[in-house]
């Protein structure tokens, strides 16, 4: 290799380093800009919230609009079903029948007192929140309830789901 060739090789090498540093810095800066848009802190209501003194629950359906949550009470059993449609997030309507109705749903005869229907694209859920018509890919989630020992209030934990036969005895 002649002197000249070595020099030009060295120049090429240094140029590449320069490019790397330049583009790398620019890329890093923009990655930083983009990252700033993913919030680290959310000023949102918590997923685990206190609802109501269970003594004040009505028999049947209780709707908690600010949490988009239905709480049902039958005798001494309570359970909670989300009101958020699993298709694209609209709030489903509670549709009571006023009496027990026998319906054939997904090939089975079941007895229902109410259903949940979604205004946005017509998803229909059974009394237990199972999807039986419309585009929603899954049923409405059930959330666990507990009694806050300090206040005796009902607390719901919307960060985890439970099976649909889950019940809290009060």
């Amino acid at each position: 290799m002649t002197d000249k060739e070595i020099k030009s090789k060295r120049r090429e090498f240094l140029k590449n380093i320069g490019r790397l540093v330049g583009y790398g810095t620019l890329g890093g800066v923009f990655a930083g800009f983009a990252r700033s848009l993913w919030p680290n802190i959310l000023y949102e209501p918590p997923k685990r919230v206190r609802l109501i003194d269970p003594k004040n629950l009505a028999e049947g359906m209780n709707y908690f609009p600010e949490h988009r949550l239905f709480v049902f009470k039958k005798g001494n059993e309570v359970w909670a079903i989300s009101a958020i449609c699993q298709h694209l997030g609209c709030t489903v309507n509670f549709v009571p029948f006023g009496q027990k109705v026998k319906k054939k749903i997904l090939g089975k005869i079941i007895e229902e007192e109410w259903e949940f229907h979604c205004p946005c694209h017509g998803s229909k859920y059974t009394q237990d929140g199972d999807i039986y018509a419309g585009p929603a890919p899954r049923g409405l989630p059930h959330y666990p309830l507990e009694i806050d020992p300090a206040t005796g209030f009902l607390v719901v934990d919307m960060s985890r789901e439970v099976k649909k036969d889950w019940r809290l005895k009060v």
Binding site: L37, W38, P39, L42, Y43, E44, Y63, P65, E66, R68, H87, L88, G89, C90, T91, V92, N93, F94, V95, H117, C118, P119, C120, H121, G122, K124, G134, P135, A136, P137, R138
Partner: protein, 411 residues
């Protein structure tokens, strides 16, 4: 008479009397307002019937939107506590607030329509083709145009949220949830779009910023490039017709006219016409404002703005279940199908191998089949919009428009 008018025009806007064509051309390229026009254009490309001037109409609407939008920025507060109230104030307290809001809103709706129709025009006239030009790369403008169409739709969608009423919140809930239904990446996309896990202040300020600066700036840059390309592509595609005729030895001289007054006059006419039409809508049609946004209950039915109704129809009917495996219609109808349609339309400009003679003329025979296929999809979309608008009732059920069921009061 025409000659007389021309002389008056020249006296008004030229400080000197050009001695020949060269000088006349220079007078245009050296004028600040006119320099982005070529000195001369063909009469055919300026005709009403070729382009229908839909691109210009879109640009004028964008101009109206910018002016009214800037004034609205002085009057609107992008906060969840005050957004709705500031729209109410526009309607009832601010002098001519209703006028501003209506004008901005109707121009926005018109722009979605005119950009779409402009695309339809470009397709039917084969105007993304290069004819026998060696310089032109009109496909690029078709691709830029598709992006412009997307940006126009995003602008409408982001603006839709700002009143923070029931209409707004549910359209955007569904829209953002569609993004969330994308497998794997969905949650991240939603998170950065809404700035959290629910639609709240973070979402409002993000949509606001997109709406008032990011997307309009992007549109302006792309539009400038769109215009620059037309110059570099040697003019609108219709010029290829004259080139082809000349090459085949026909003794046709393309009728060339100076950009001013010929193009300038038409642009002024189109601008005035567009403005008067928007003014008409502004004065005679009111803009809806529903109750303040509340996630606690959803209007029944909750319908998207008309240009997204076909998507709402699609997301409602495309959920597929195979065995235990379910794919949300939100992803299939809301993302996959529009992406395939848009992608196919975008690359079609490169696939279309019809002869050069089919460039820049309406409905050339050689493009019959593709025109029919294009029409089929366009009508399908329009059909779904009409169906969803008039035949979808409570709980998205199918009803005659005059026979919606009475709903019991719920909850």
């Amino acid at each position: 008479m025409k000659e007389k008018l021309y002389q008056v025009w020249r006296a008004l806007i030229w400080t000197f009397d050009p001695a020949d064509r060269g000088e006349a051309g220079k007078a245009i390229t050296r004028n600040f307002w006119l320099h982005w026009f070529p000195p001369r254009m063909t009469k055919r490309s300026l005709s009403w019937g070729y382009s229908l001037w839909l691109g210009t109409i879109s640009a004028v609407l964008f101009f109206i939107l910018t002016i009214t939008g800037i004034i609205l920025m002085f009057l609107y507060v992008p906060s969840v506590e005050r957004a709705y109230q500031s729209i109410k104030d526009l309607e009832y307290a601010v002098s001519f607030g209703w006028f501003l809001r209506n004008m901005h809103r109707w121009a926005a709706h018109m722009m979605v329509a005119s950009v779409f129709l402009h695309m339809v025009r470009v397709f039917y006239t084969g105007a993304y083709k290069n004819g026998i030009s060696h310089m032109a790369k009109r496909q690029i403008n078709w691709v830029v145009g598709m992006i412009l169409l997307g940006v126009t739709l995003l602008l409408s969608f982001s603006g839709y949220l700002l009143p923070w009423d029931q209409l707004a919140i549910w359209a955007v809930t569904v829209g953002t949830q569609i993004a969330r239904s994308v497998p794997i990446l969905g949650d991240d996309i939603y998170y950065v779009l809404a700035g959290g896990t629910r639609l709240d202040q973070n979402a409002l300020i993000r949509f606001y910023t997109l709406h008032v600066i990011f997307l309009p700036a992007l549109l302006l840059v792309l539009f400038s490039y769109h215009m620059w390309r037309i110059r570099k592509d040697e003019g609108l595609a219709s010029v290829e017709q004259e080139k082809i005729a000349r090459k085949s030895g026909k003794p046709v001289q393309p009728e060339m006219v100076f950009s001013t007054p010929w193009a300038v006059r038409r642009i002024i006419l189109v601008s005035l016409g567009t403005f008067v039409w928007v003014l008409f809508l502004t004065v005679f049609l009111e803009s809806p404002l529903e109750e303040p946004a509340s996630l606690e209950w959803t209007p029944n039915p909750a319908k998207a703005p008309w240009y997204f109704l076909w998507l709402q129809e699609l997301v409602a009917i495309t959920t597929i279940r195979i065995g235990g495996f379910t794919l949300n219609g939100g992803f299939i109808g809301g993302v996959l199908i529009p992406a395939i349609l848009g992608g196919a339309a975008t690359i079609w400009a490169f696939i279309d191998k019809s002869p050069p003679e089919a460039t820049g003329v309406w409905f050339h025979r050689s493009r019959l089949v593709q025109n029919l296929v294009f029409t089929f999809f366009a009508l399908l979309i329009v059909g779904m919009i009409i169906f969803a608008m008039y035949f979808r009732g409570p709980y998205w059920g199918v009803y005659w428009p005059w026979a919606w069921p009475e709903l019991p009061e719920i909850i």
